[in-house]
Symmetry: C2
Subunit: 195 residues, 2 copies
């Protein structure tokens, strides 16, 4: 684990972007401190190149337009959300109407990507990015399970999301209990604390 | 749904790549037919630009080097697989050792991305890409649940994967039964057929 030395390992990921522009791009970074690191947070230098690329295949519409309004746990909300698929991909929904639950993959486009250690306010302890479900990660892809209510043309109605309105969609998959459900799974560090 | 007309909607996604090169890139496409479509499969024109980009953060090592050797269902195999994280991200594992199961996101880099309707050989019926877990999809990101055995430096030992040796890793997340496990979920079309 890196200690105080690692704390300053951050450099500018893209040489053609100024520090402040980079900070603006990554949002949620207070303007006064372009690094925006809290105590216990450690950033690394991002790789110099990308390895693969994504298409946004649609948008997710939810009732929440500010991060602080989003439910803390997706299962806490019964809000009906709409997944609007790009019409190009509409035929890809054939057969999905027979499915009770879907896996949604979406892109958390507001999150910075360079933190390896994080100190979320509600936990108050330093943990690795891969031990957390924080949007801040090298590839900010979220995975959510949602209950499917209806498929109408290229639109889906679902329950069980907690993301911001307008979030870009990357993929939809049928949820198979046989391989995706592990009721006995545990997260030791989580213990009695709330996710 | 597109019928026979849609069958020929395929065009060349990248103008600077010849049809045959494109076919080679997408592999699993027989050389004799650059489109490589089976009856019941429908391709669409891919968008002209990408929207976001990914870093490979490591590689997954499995015993399987040919697609036909991979287990059909990840839970059928007790093979121990190794996740080798790029050392840049090693600190991000802090706390993950307390987790029983992880979600692994990986990039199925051998899959073509333009099919909306597919006719997998073992099912013999036409279904939409988003009703299937096929690697062929606009963003070929797989989501797998694996049992975590050990974390050693920047390496993890896990059980429950079915991908090819060398598959690029995109993300690791702790699996939370409270939000990720839905034992009662069903896939209607799947019924008595095997996944």
């Amino acid at each position: 684990m890196s200690g105080a030395a690692g704390y300053w390992r951050l450099t500018i990921p893209h040489a053609n972007v100024s520090v402040m522009e980079q900070a603006a791009e990554n949002t949620a970074v207070p303007k006064k401190d372009p690094y925006g690191l809290r105590p216990g947070e450690v950033a690394v230098e991002l790789p110099t190149h990308f390895d693969a690329s994504l298409y946004y295949i649609g948008r997710i519409h939810t009732p929440w337009t500010r991060r602080e309004d989003c439910p803390k746990n997706a299962r806490e909300s019964e809000a009906v959300c709409t997944v609007e698929l790009d019409p190009r991909w509409a035929d890809g929904l054939k057969g999905l109407e027979t499915v009770s639950h879907v896996l949604l993959l979406y892109w958390m486009d507001k999150a910075r990507r360079d933190l390896v250690l994080q100190a979320p306010r509600h936990y108050g302890e330093q943990r690795g990015t891969f031990a957390l479900r924080s949007p801040v990660r090298p590839n900010p892809i979220a995975v959510s399970v949602a209950r499917l209510l209806q498929v109408r043309g290229s639109e889906l109605s679902v329950v069980g999301l907690d993301c911001l309105d307008g979030t870009p969609l990357l993929d939809l998959k049928p949820y198979f209990a046989s391989t995706d459900s592990v009721p006995e799974a545990s997260v030791g560090w989580h213990g009695a604390t709330k996710r």
